[in-house]
């Protein structure tokens, strides 16, 4: 073609100019571990199911959740939510109400009648789970999903373990408990109730390929309290158990609970509901050293439970107690002062910890028992091949959530053992730190507080104290998630690139860097709200 004067080249696009050659650092998309997932003892990844809940895909959210934990409605009521304690949003305004959304999903699933997945094939392997508490049921559910035949045996007439016989109904209504357990049974788990396993060797001889011991800690620890014959003393575990069975003991008008854990608080709040006008917790240390969770304690105090700090019970008599004042020494250990006072009390409830009955393991070789717990390795296997243990029966924090996590982890280990393969736990990605987020982009949104029953109304019965969220509030709460360390497709990188070097792949497919043109300026990484783009040195 004839060109005009002084023109020698055709017009071309700047696309011929690969500016990517300028780059000394390249942006890469990463998926980091959000702090909520890192903190969850039950190995849930809350961010994943919150993501689904954000657009109202509640069933998908629930299905993602129950891959790790079959008890969202229970968790949403009794879990002490370490995920919220770890939540990065707490540095911005308030932590995301993960637990409330979990409860909403759990309740919604029960309403909708969603079922847990049933395995397509069976392996023909048989596993016995001893104990139908959170640990045992979690293991049974996971083993069943992996295709094994599972039998759960429990001495009690109803399943649930401490979820039924330890946690009061005002915290965990029994219809919720029943519904979530029934769903596990429906996957084909065989439940044998009122059946005591007291001889492990005999049980193994029945043809089980592996056993998981999840017997819990159901015996109230005995402590010597000097007492007169006529003094009325009950232990907290029995009290809660009897109340759960509909056979509450007579405690009288003035009840003193001795101990500082969650069980002590449960017992004190239960005593109030049984009609006690005075419910006093006697604890030998101070509040900051109390093992009971703050939220439980706060609710108890709202209900009128009184605590006598730095006190021990020296002597129990009919109608009154002698209490000794304590002092913390420099190591924080309480020491007696020799100062006494009298406290009126119709009954004394001992909540001084729980122990495990491991007599079923008598005669089993190669086991190590320490302080009433059975020692296990990192795969929850005891010294005896094929016998695994978890939950309160092994040394660990004793909560429902920890138990569920033990069950799930042990199930994976048992599965690997049955298949004679090595258990490969995937490496956890680095933690998504708050400092890596660009929080400018998150709208200011307060925490949706769960409505509560009035404290006055609460102590008159065993109706549930904390109410749930409605669907709209649950979505609102889910949308407060900042998606720490994982792309949530906000289009910021795609928008802020001065070189059009970010390719938008479409909904659900995220983005890709076009390294032909990316100059490595780093704006995409700096402006990524969730901190899921890293700049790494170019290695050419």
């Amino acid at each position: 073609m004839e060109k005009p004067f002084a023109i020698t080249l055709d017009v071309g696009s700047s696309l011929a100019n690969h500016t990517g050659a300028w780059r000394v650092e390249r942006p890469v998309y990463v998926d980091l571990t959000p702090p909520c997932a890192h903190a969850c003892p039950a190995m849930e990844d809350p961010q994943k199911w919150l993501y689904a809940a954000e657009d109202g895909s509640y069933e998908q959210a629930w299905r993602t959740l129950v891959e790790a934990n079959p008890f969202p409605a229970i968790m949403g009521r009794v879990c002490y939510h370490p995920c919220e304690t770890a939540c990065n949003r707490s540095f911005l305004d308030e932590a995301v109400g993960i637990n409330a959304v979990e409860r909403f999903l759990g309740d919604h699933a029960i309403e909708q009648g969603w079922a847990l997945p049933v395995p397509a094939t069976t392996t023909g392997r048989r596993v016995l789970v001893v104990g139908a508490g959170p640990t045992g049921l979690s293991a049974a559910y996971q083993l069943r999903r992996l295709g094994h035949e599972v039998t759960v045996r429990d001495t009690s007439p109803l399943p649930g373990g401490m979820m039924r016989y330890g946690i009061p109904a005002y915290r965990l209504p029994r219809d919720v408990l029943d519904a979530e357990i029934a769903r596990i049974v429906a996957t084909g788990v065989r439940l044998e109730l009122s059946t005591r396993v007291d001889d492990m060797t005999a049980a193994l001889a029945e043809g089980f390929d592996a056993v998981f011991v999840a017997v819990g800690a159901q015996i109230g620890k005995r402590a010597y309290v000097p007492a007169a014959e006529a003094a009325r003393i009950v232990d907290a575990v029995s009290l809660l158990h009897d109340v759960a069975q509909g056979d509450p003991p007579l405690l009288g008008r003035r009840v003193v609970v001795y101990g500082g854990g969650n069980t002590a608080v449960d017992a004190a709040r239960t005593a109030k509901r049984l009609g006690a006008s005075e419910s006093v917790i006697v604890y030998r240390r101070t509040r900051d050293r109390m093992p009971a969770h703050d939220s439980e304690m706060a609710e108890a105090i709202e209900e009128g439970v009184v605590v006598k700090w730095l006190s021990t019970v020296a002597h129990a008599d009919a109608g009154h107690l002698r209490v000794e004042r304590m002092e913390l020494d420099e190591t924080g250990f309480p020491q007696p002062t020799g100062e006494f006072e009298d406290l009126e009390a119709d009954s004394l409830v001992l909540a001084l910890g729980q122990e495990t009955d491991l007599s079923l393991l008598d005669g089993v070789s190669d086991l190590t028992l320490t302080n009433g717990s059975v020692e296990v390795d990192s795969s929850f296997m005891t010294g005896h091949p094929g016998i695994f243990a978890g939950g309160d029966a092994v040394p660990a924090q004793r909560t429902v959530t920890v138990g569920v996590g033990h069950g799930a982890k042990a199930a994976r280990a048992i599965d690997a053992w049955l298949r004679a393969t090595a258990l490969v736990e995937p490496d956890e990605a680095p933690l998504a730190e708050y400092a890596a987020l660009n929080t400018w982009y998150y709208a200011d949104a307060p925490h949706a507080v769960r409505p509560r029953l009035e404290a006055a109304r609460r102590t008159t019965g065993f109706e549930e104290v904390v109410q749930g969220l409605d669907a709209e509030t649950a979505a609102y709460e889910a949308r407060r998630c900042m998606s720490c360390g994982n792309c949530f497709e906000c289009d910021n990188c795609y928008g802020v690139c001065p070189d059009n070097a970010v390719i938008k792949l479409g909904t659900g497919k995220r983005f890709e860097i076009d390294y032909d043109y990316c100059k490595g300026c780093g704006i995409c990484a700096a402006e990524c709200p969730s901190g899921s783009i890293l700049m790494v040195p170019e290695t050419r």
């Binding site: 011929a16 900042m482 289009d491 928008g495 059009n500 402006e527």
Partner: protein, 332 residues
């Protein structure tokens, strides 16, 4: 911000897009098939605010004009880095004449289109602050005065960056450029000179004047949409940080623009026919120092000797903007 009514809690209307937003509420920049008016391969520096701002503005204008649009470009960085012969980065009808005549050329284009009956084709003119505030100022003022049907965009990076960072009429006080060195008792650019062209444009009482930054895309797009929905002379002044001239990290371009507005240093407002009609309120107010310390052009205010007297004067300027435009939400 104030112009979008999206009640959306996760990222509100701050981020470019979000999968949960209704498609009609999404920004032009979030669209997979956006115009990409200024495409890849251009030779702007890493982290160039002007390249980003030009794509933001023109993509939104192209969406509003449904592709029926002619652009006229003044001389400057934007022209040089986008069209080194024989390449072009423009995917819009694009015309360049001289440094100082872009508003006049745009006037001519608009008149020509009108004369040939192509009333639906819109005209957008654009240039840097040198072309707008200094060299093309007479043409611009004339275009305003005649109320020609042109949307004029000024990308303000506060200097002649393309030719080696010389001072312009838009260079802020105390900033170092190669012609306002950081020496003497009053280092950097002097106080009290320079031109506030958005206010001068408002004084022309033209149909629409607005300021914006590359840190608030939705606000920027809303203003382009509004301007494109009107006829007559319209003026949009966009703050575009320049890593080269400002001595800032390339990754900080958007952050610095954000701090410019959050400190009150750069007021973001809209005016119609001589009256200010809305302002973008400061969301999290910061001292102007936070804006200054990220930029090498203000380094002499902090070392070797900290110049509190100068910093205070810059803060006083920001405070004056805050008071003048009511940038801080009044707490009742």
């Amino acid at each position: 911000m104030s112009s979008t009514g999206v009640k959306f809690y996760q990222v509100g209307s701050f981020a470019v897009g979000n999968r949960l937003l209704d498609p009609e509420l999404r920004s032009a920049q979030s669209e997979q098939g956006r115009a990409n008016s200024l495409t890849s391969g251009h030779r702007a520096c890493q982290g160039c605010g002007e390249a980003l701002g030009a794509r933001y503005v023109l993509d939104a204008a192209m969406r509003a004009a449904q592709g029926r649009m002619v652009t006229v470009n003044a001389t400057g960085c934007l022209e040089v880095f986008s069209t080194p012969y024989p390449e072009t980065s423009w995917r819009v009808a694009w015309l360049h004449s001289l440094f100082g005549n872009a508003p006049a050329v745009a006037t001519g284009v608009a008149a020509g289109l009108r004369a040939t009956g192509k009333d639906d084709v819109r005209v957008v003119a654009q240039g840097g602050d040198g072309a707008t505030v200094d060299i093309g100022f007479a043409c611009l003022s004339g275009m305003f005065e005649r109320n020609d049907d042109v949307l004029y965009i000024c990308y303000d990076n506060g200097g002649y960056m393309n030719t080696g960072v010389q001072r312009s009429g838009a260079t802020p006080p105390a900033a170092r450029t190669t012609t306002t060195q950081a020496v003497g008792d009053e280092p950097g650019n002097v106080f009290g000179q320079g031109k506030d062209v958005p206010r001068i444009a408002v004084a022309h009482e033209i149909p629409y004047v607005a300021t914006a930054t590359v840190a608030d895309l939705r606000d920027l797009e809303a203003k382009v949409d509004k301007a494109m929905g009107m006829h007559g002379a319209r003026y949009l002044h966009v703050l575009v940080p320049c890593p080269l001239g400002w001595g800032s990290a390339s990754k900080d371009t958007v952050k610095i623009a954000r701090l410019a507005t959050e400190s009150g240093h750069f007021p973001v407002f809209e005016a119609e026919r001589g009256e200010v009609t809305s302002v973008r309120k400061i969301r999290h107010q910061v001292p102007v120092e936070e804006y200054l310390t990220l930029q090498g052009r203000y380094k002499h205010l902090f070392s070797p000797v900290r110049r509190d007297d100068v910093i205070d004067r810059l803060q006083a300027m920001a405070d004056r903007n805050i008071a003048r435009y009511g940038l801080v939400e009044e707490v009742l």
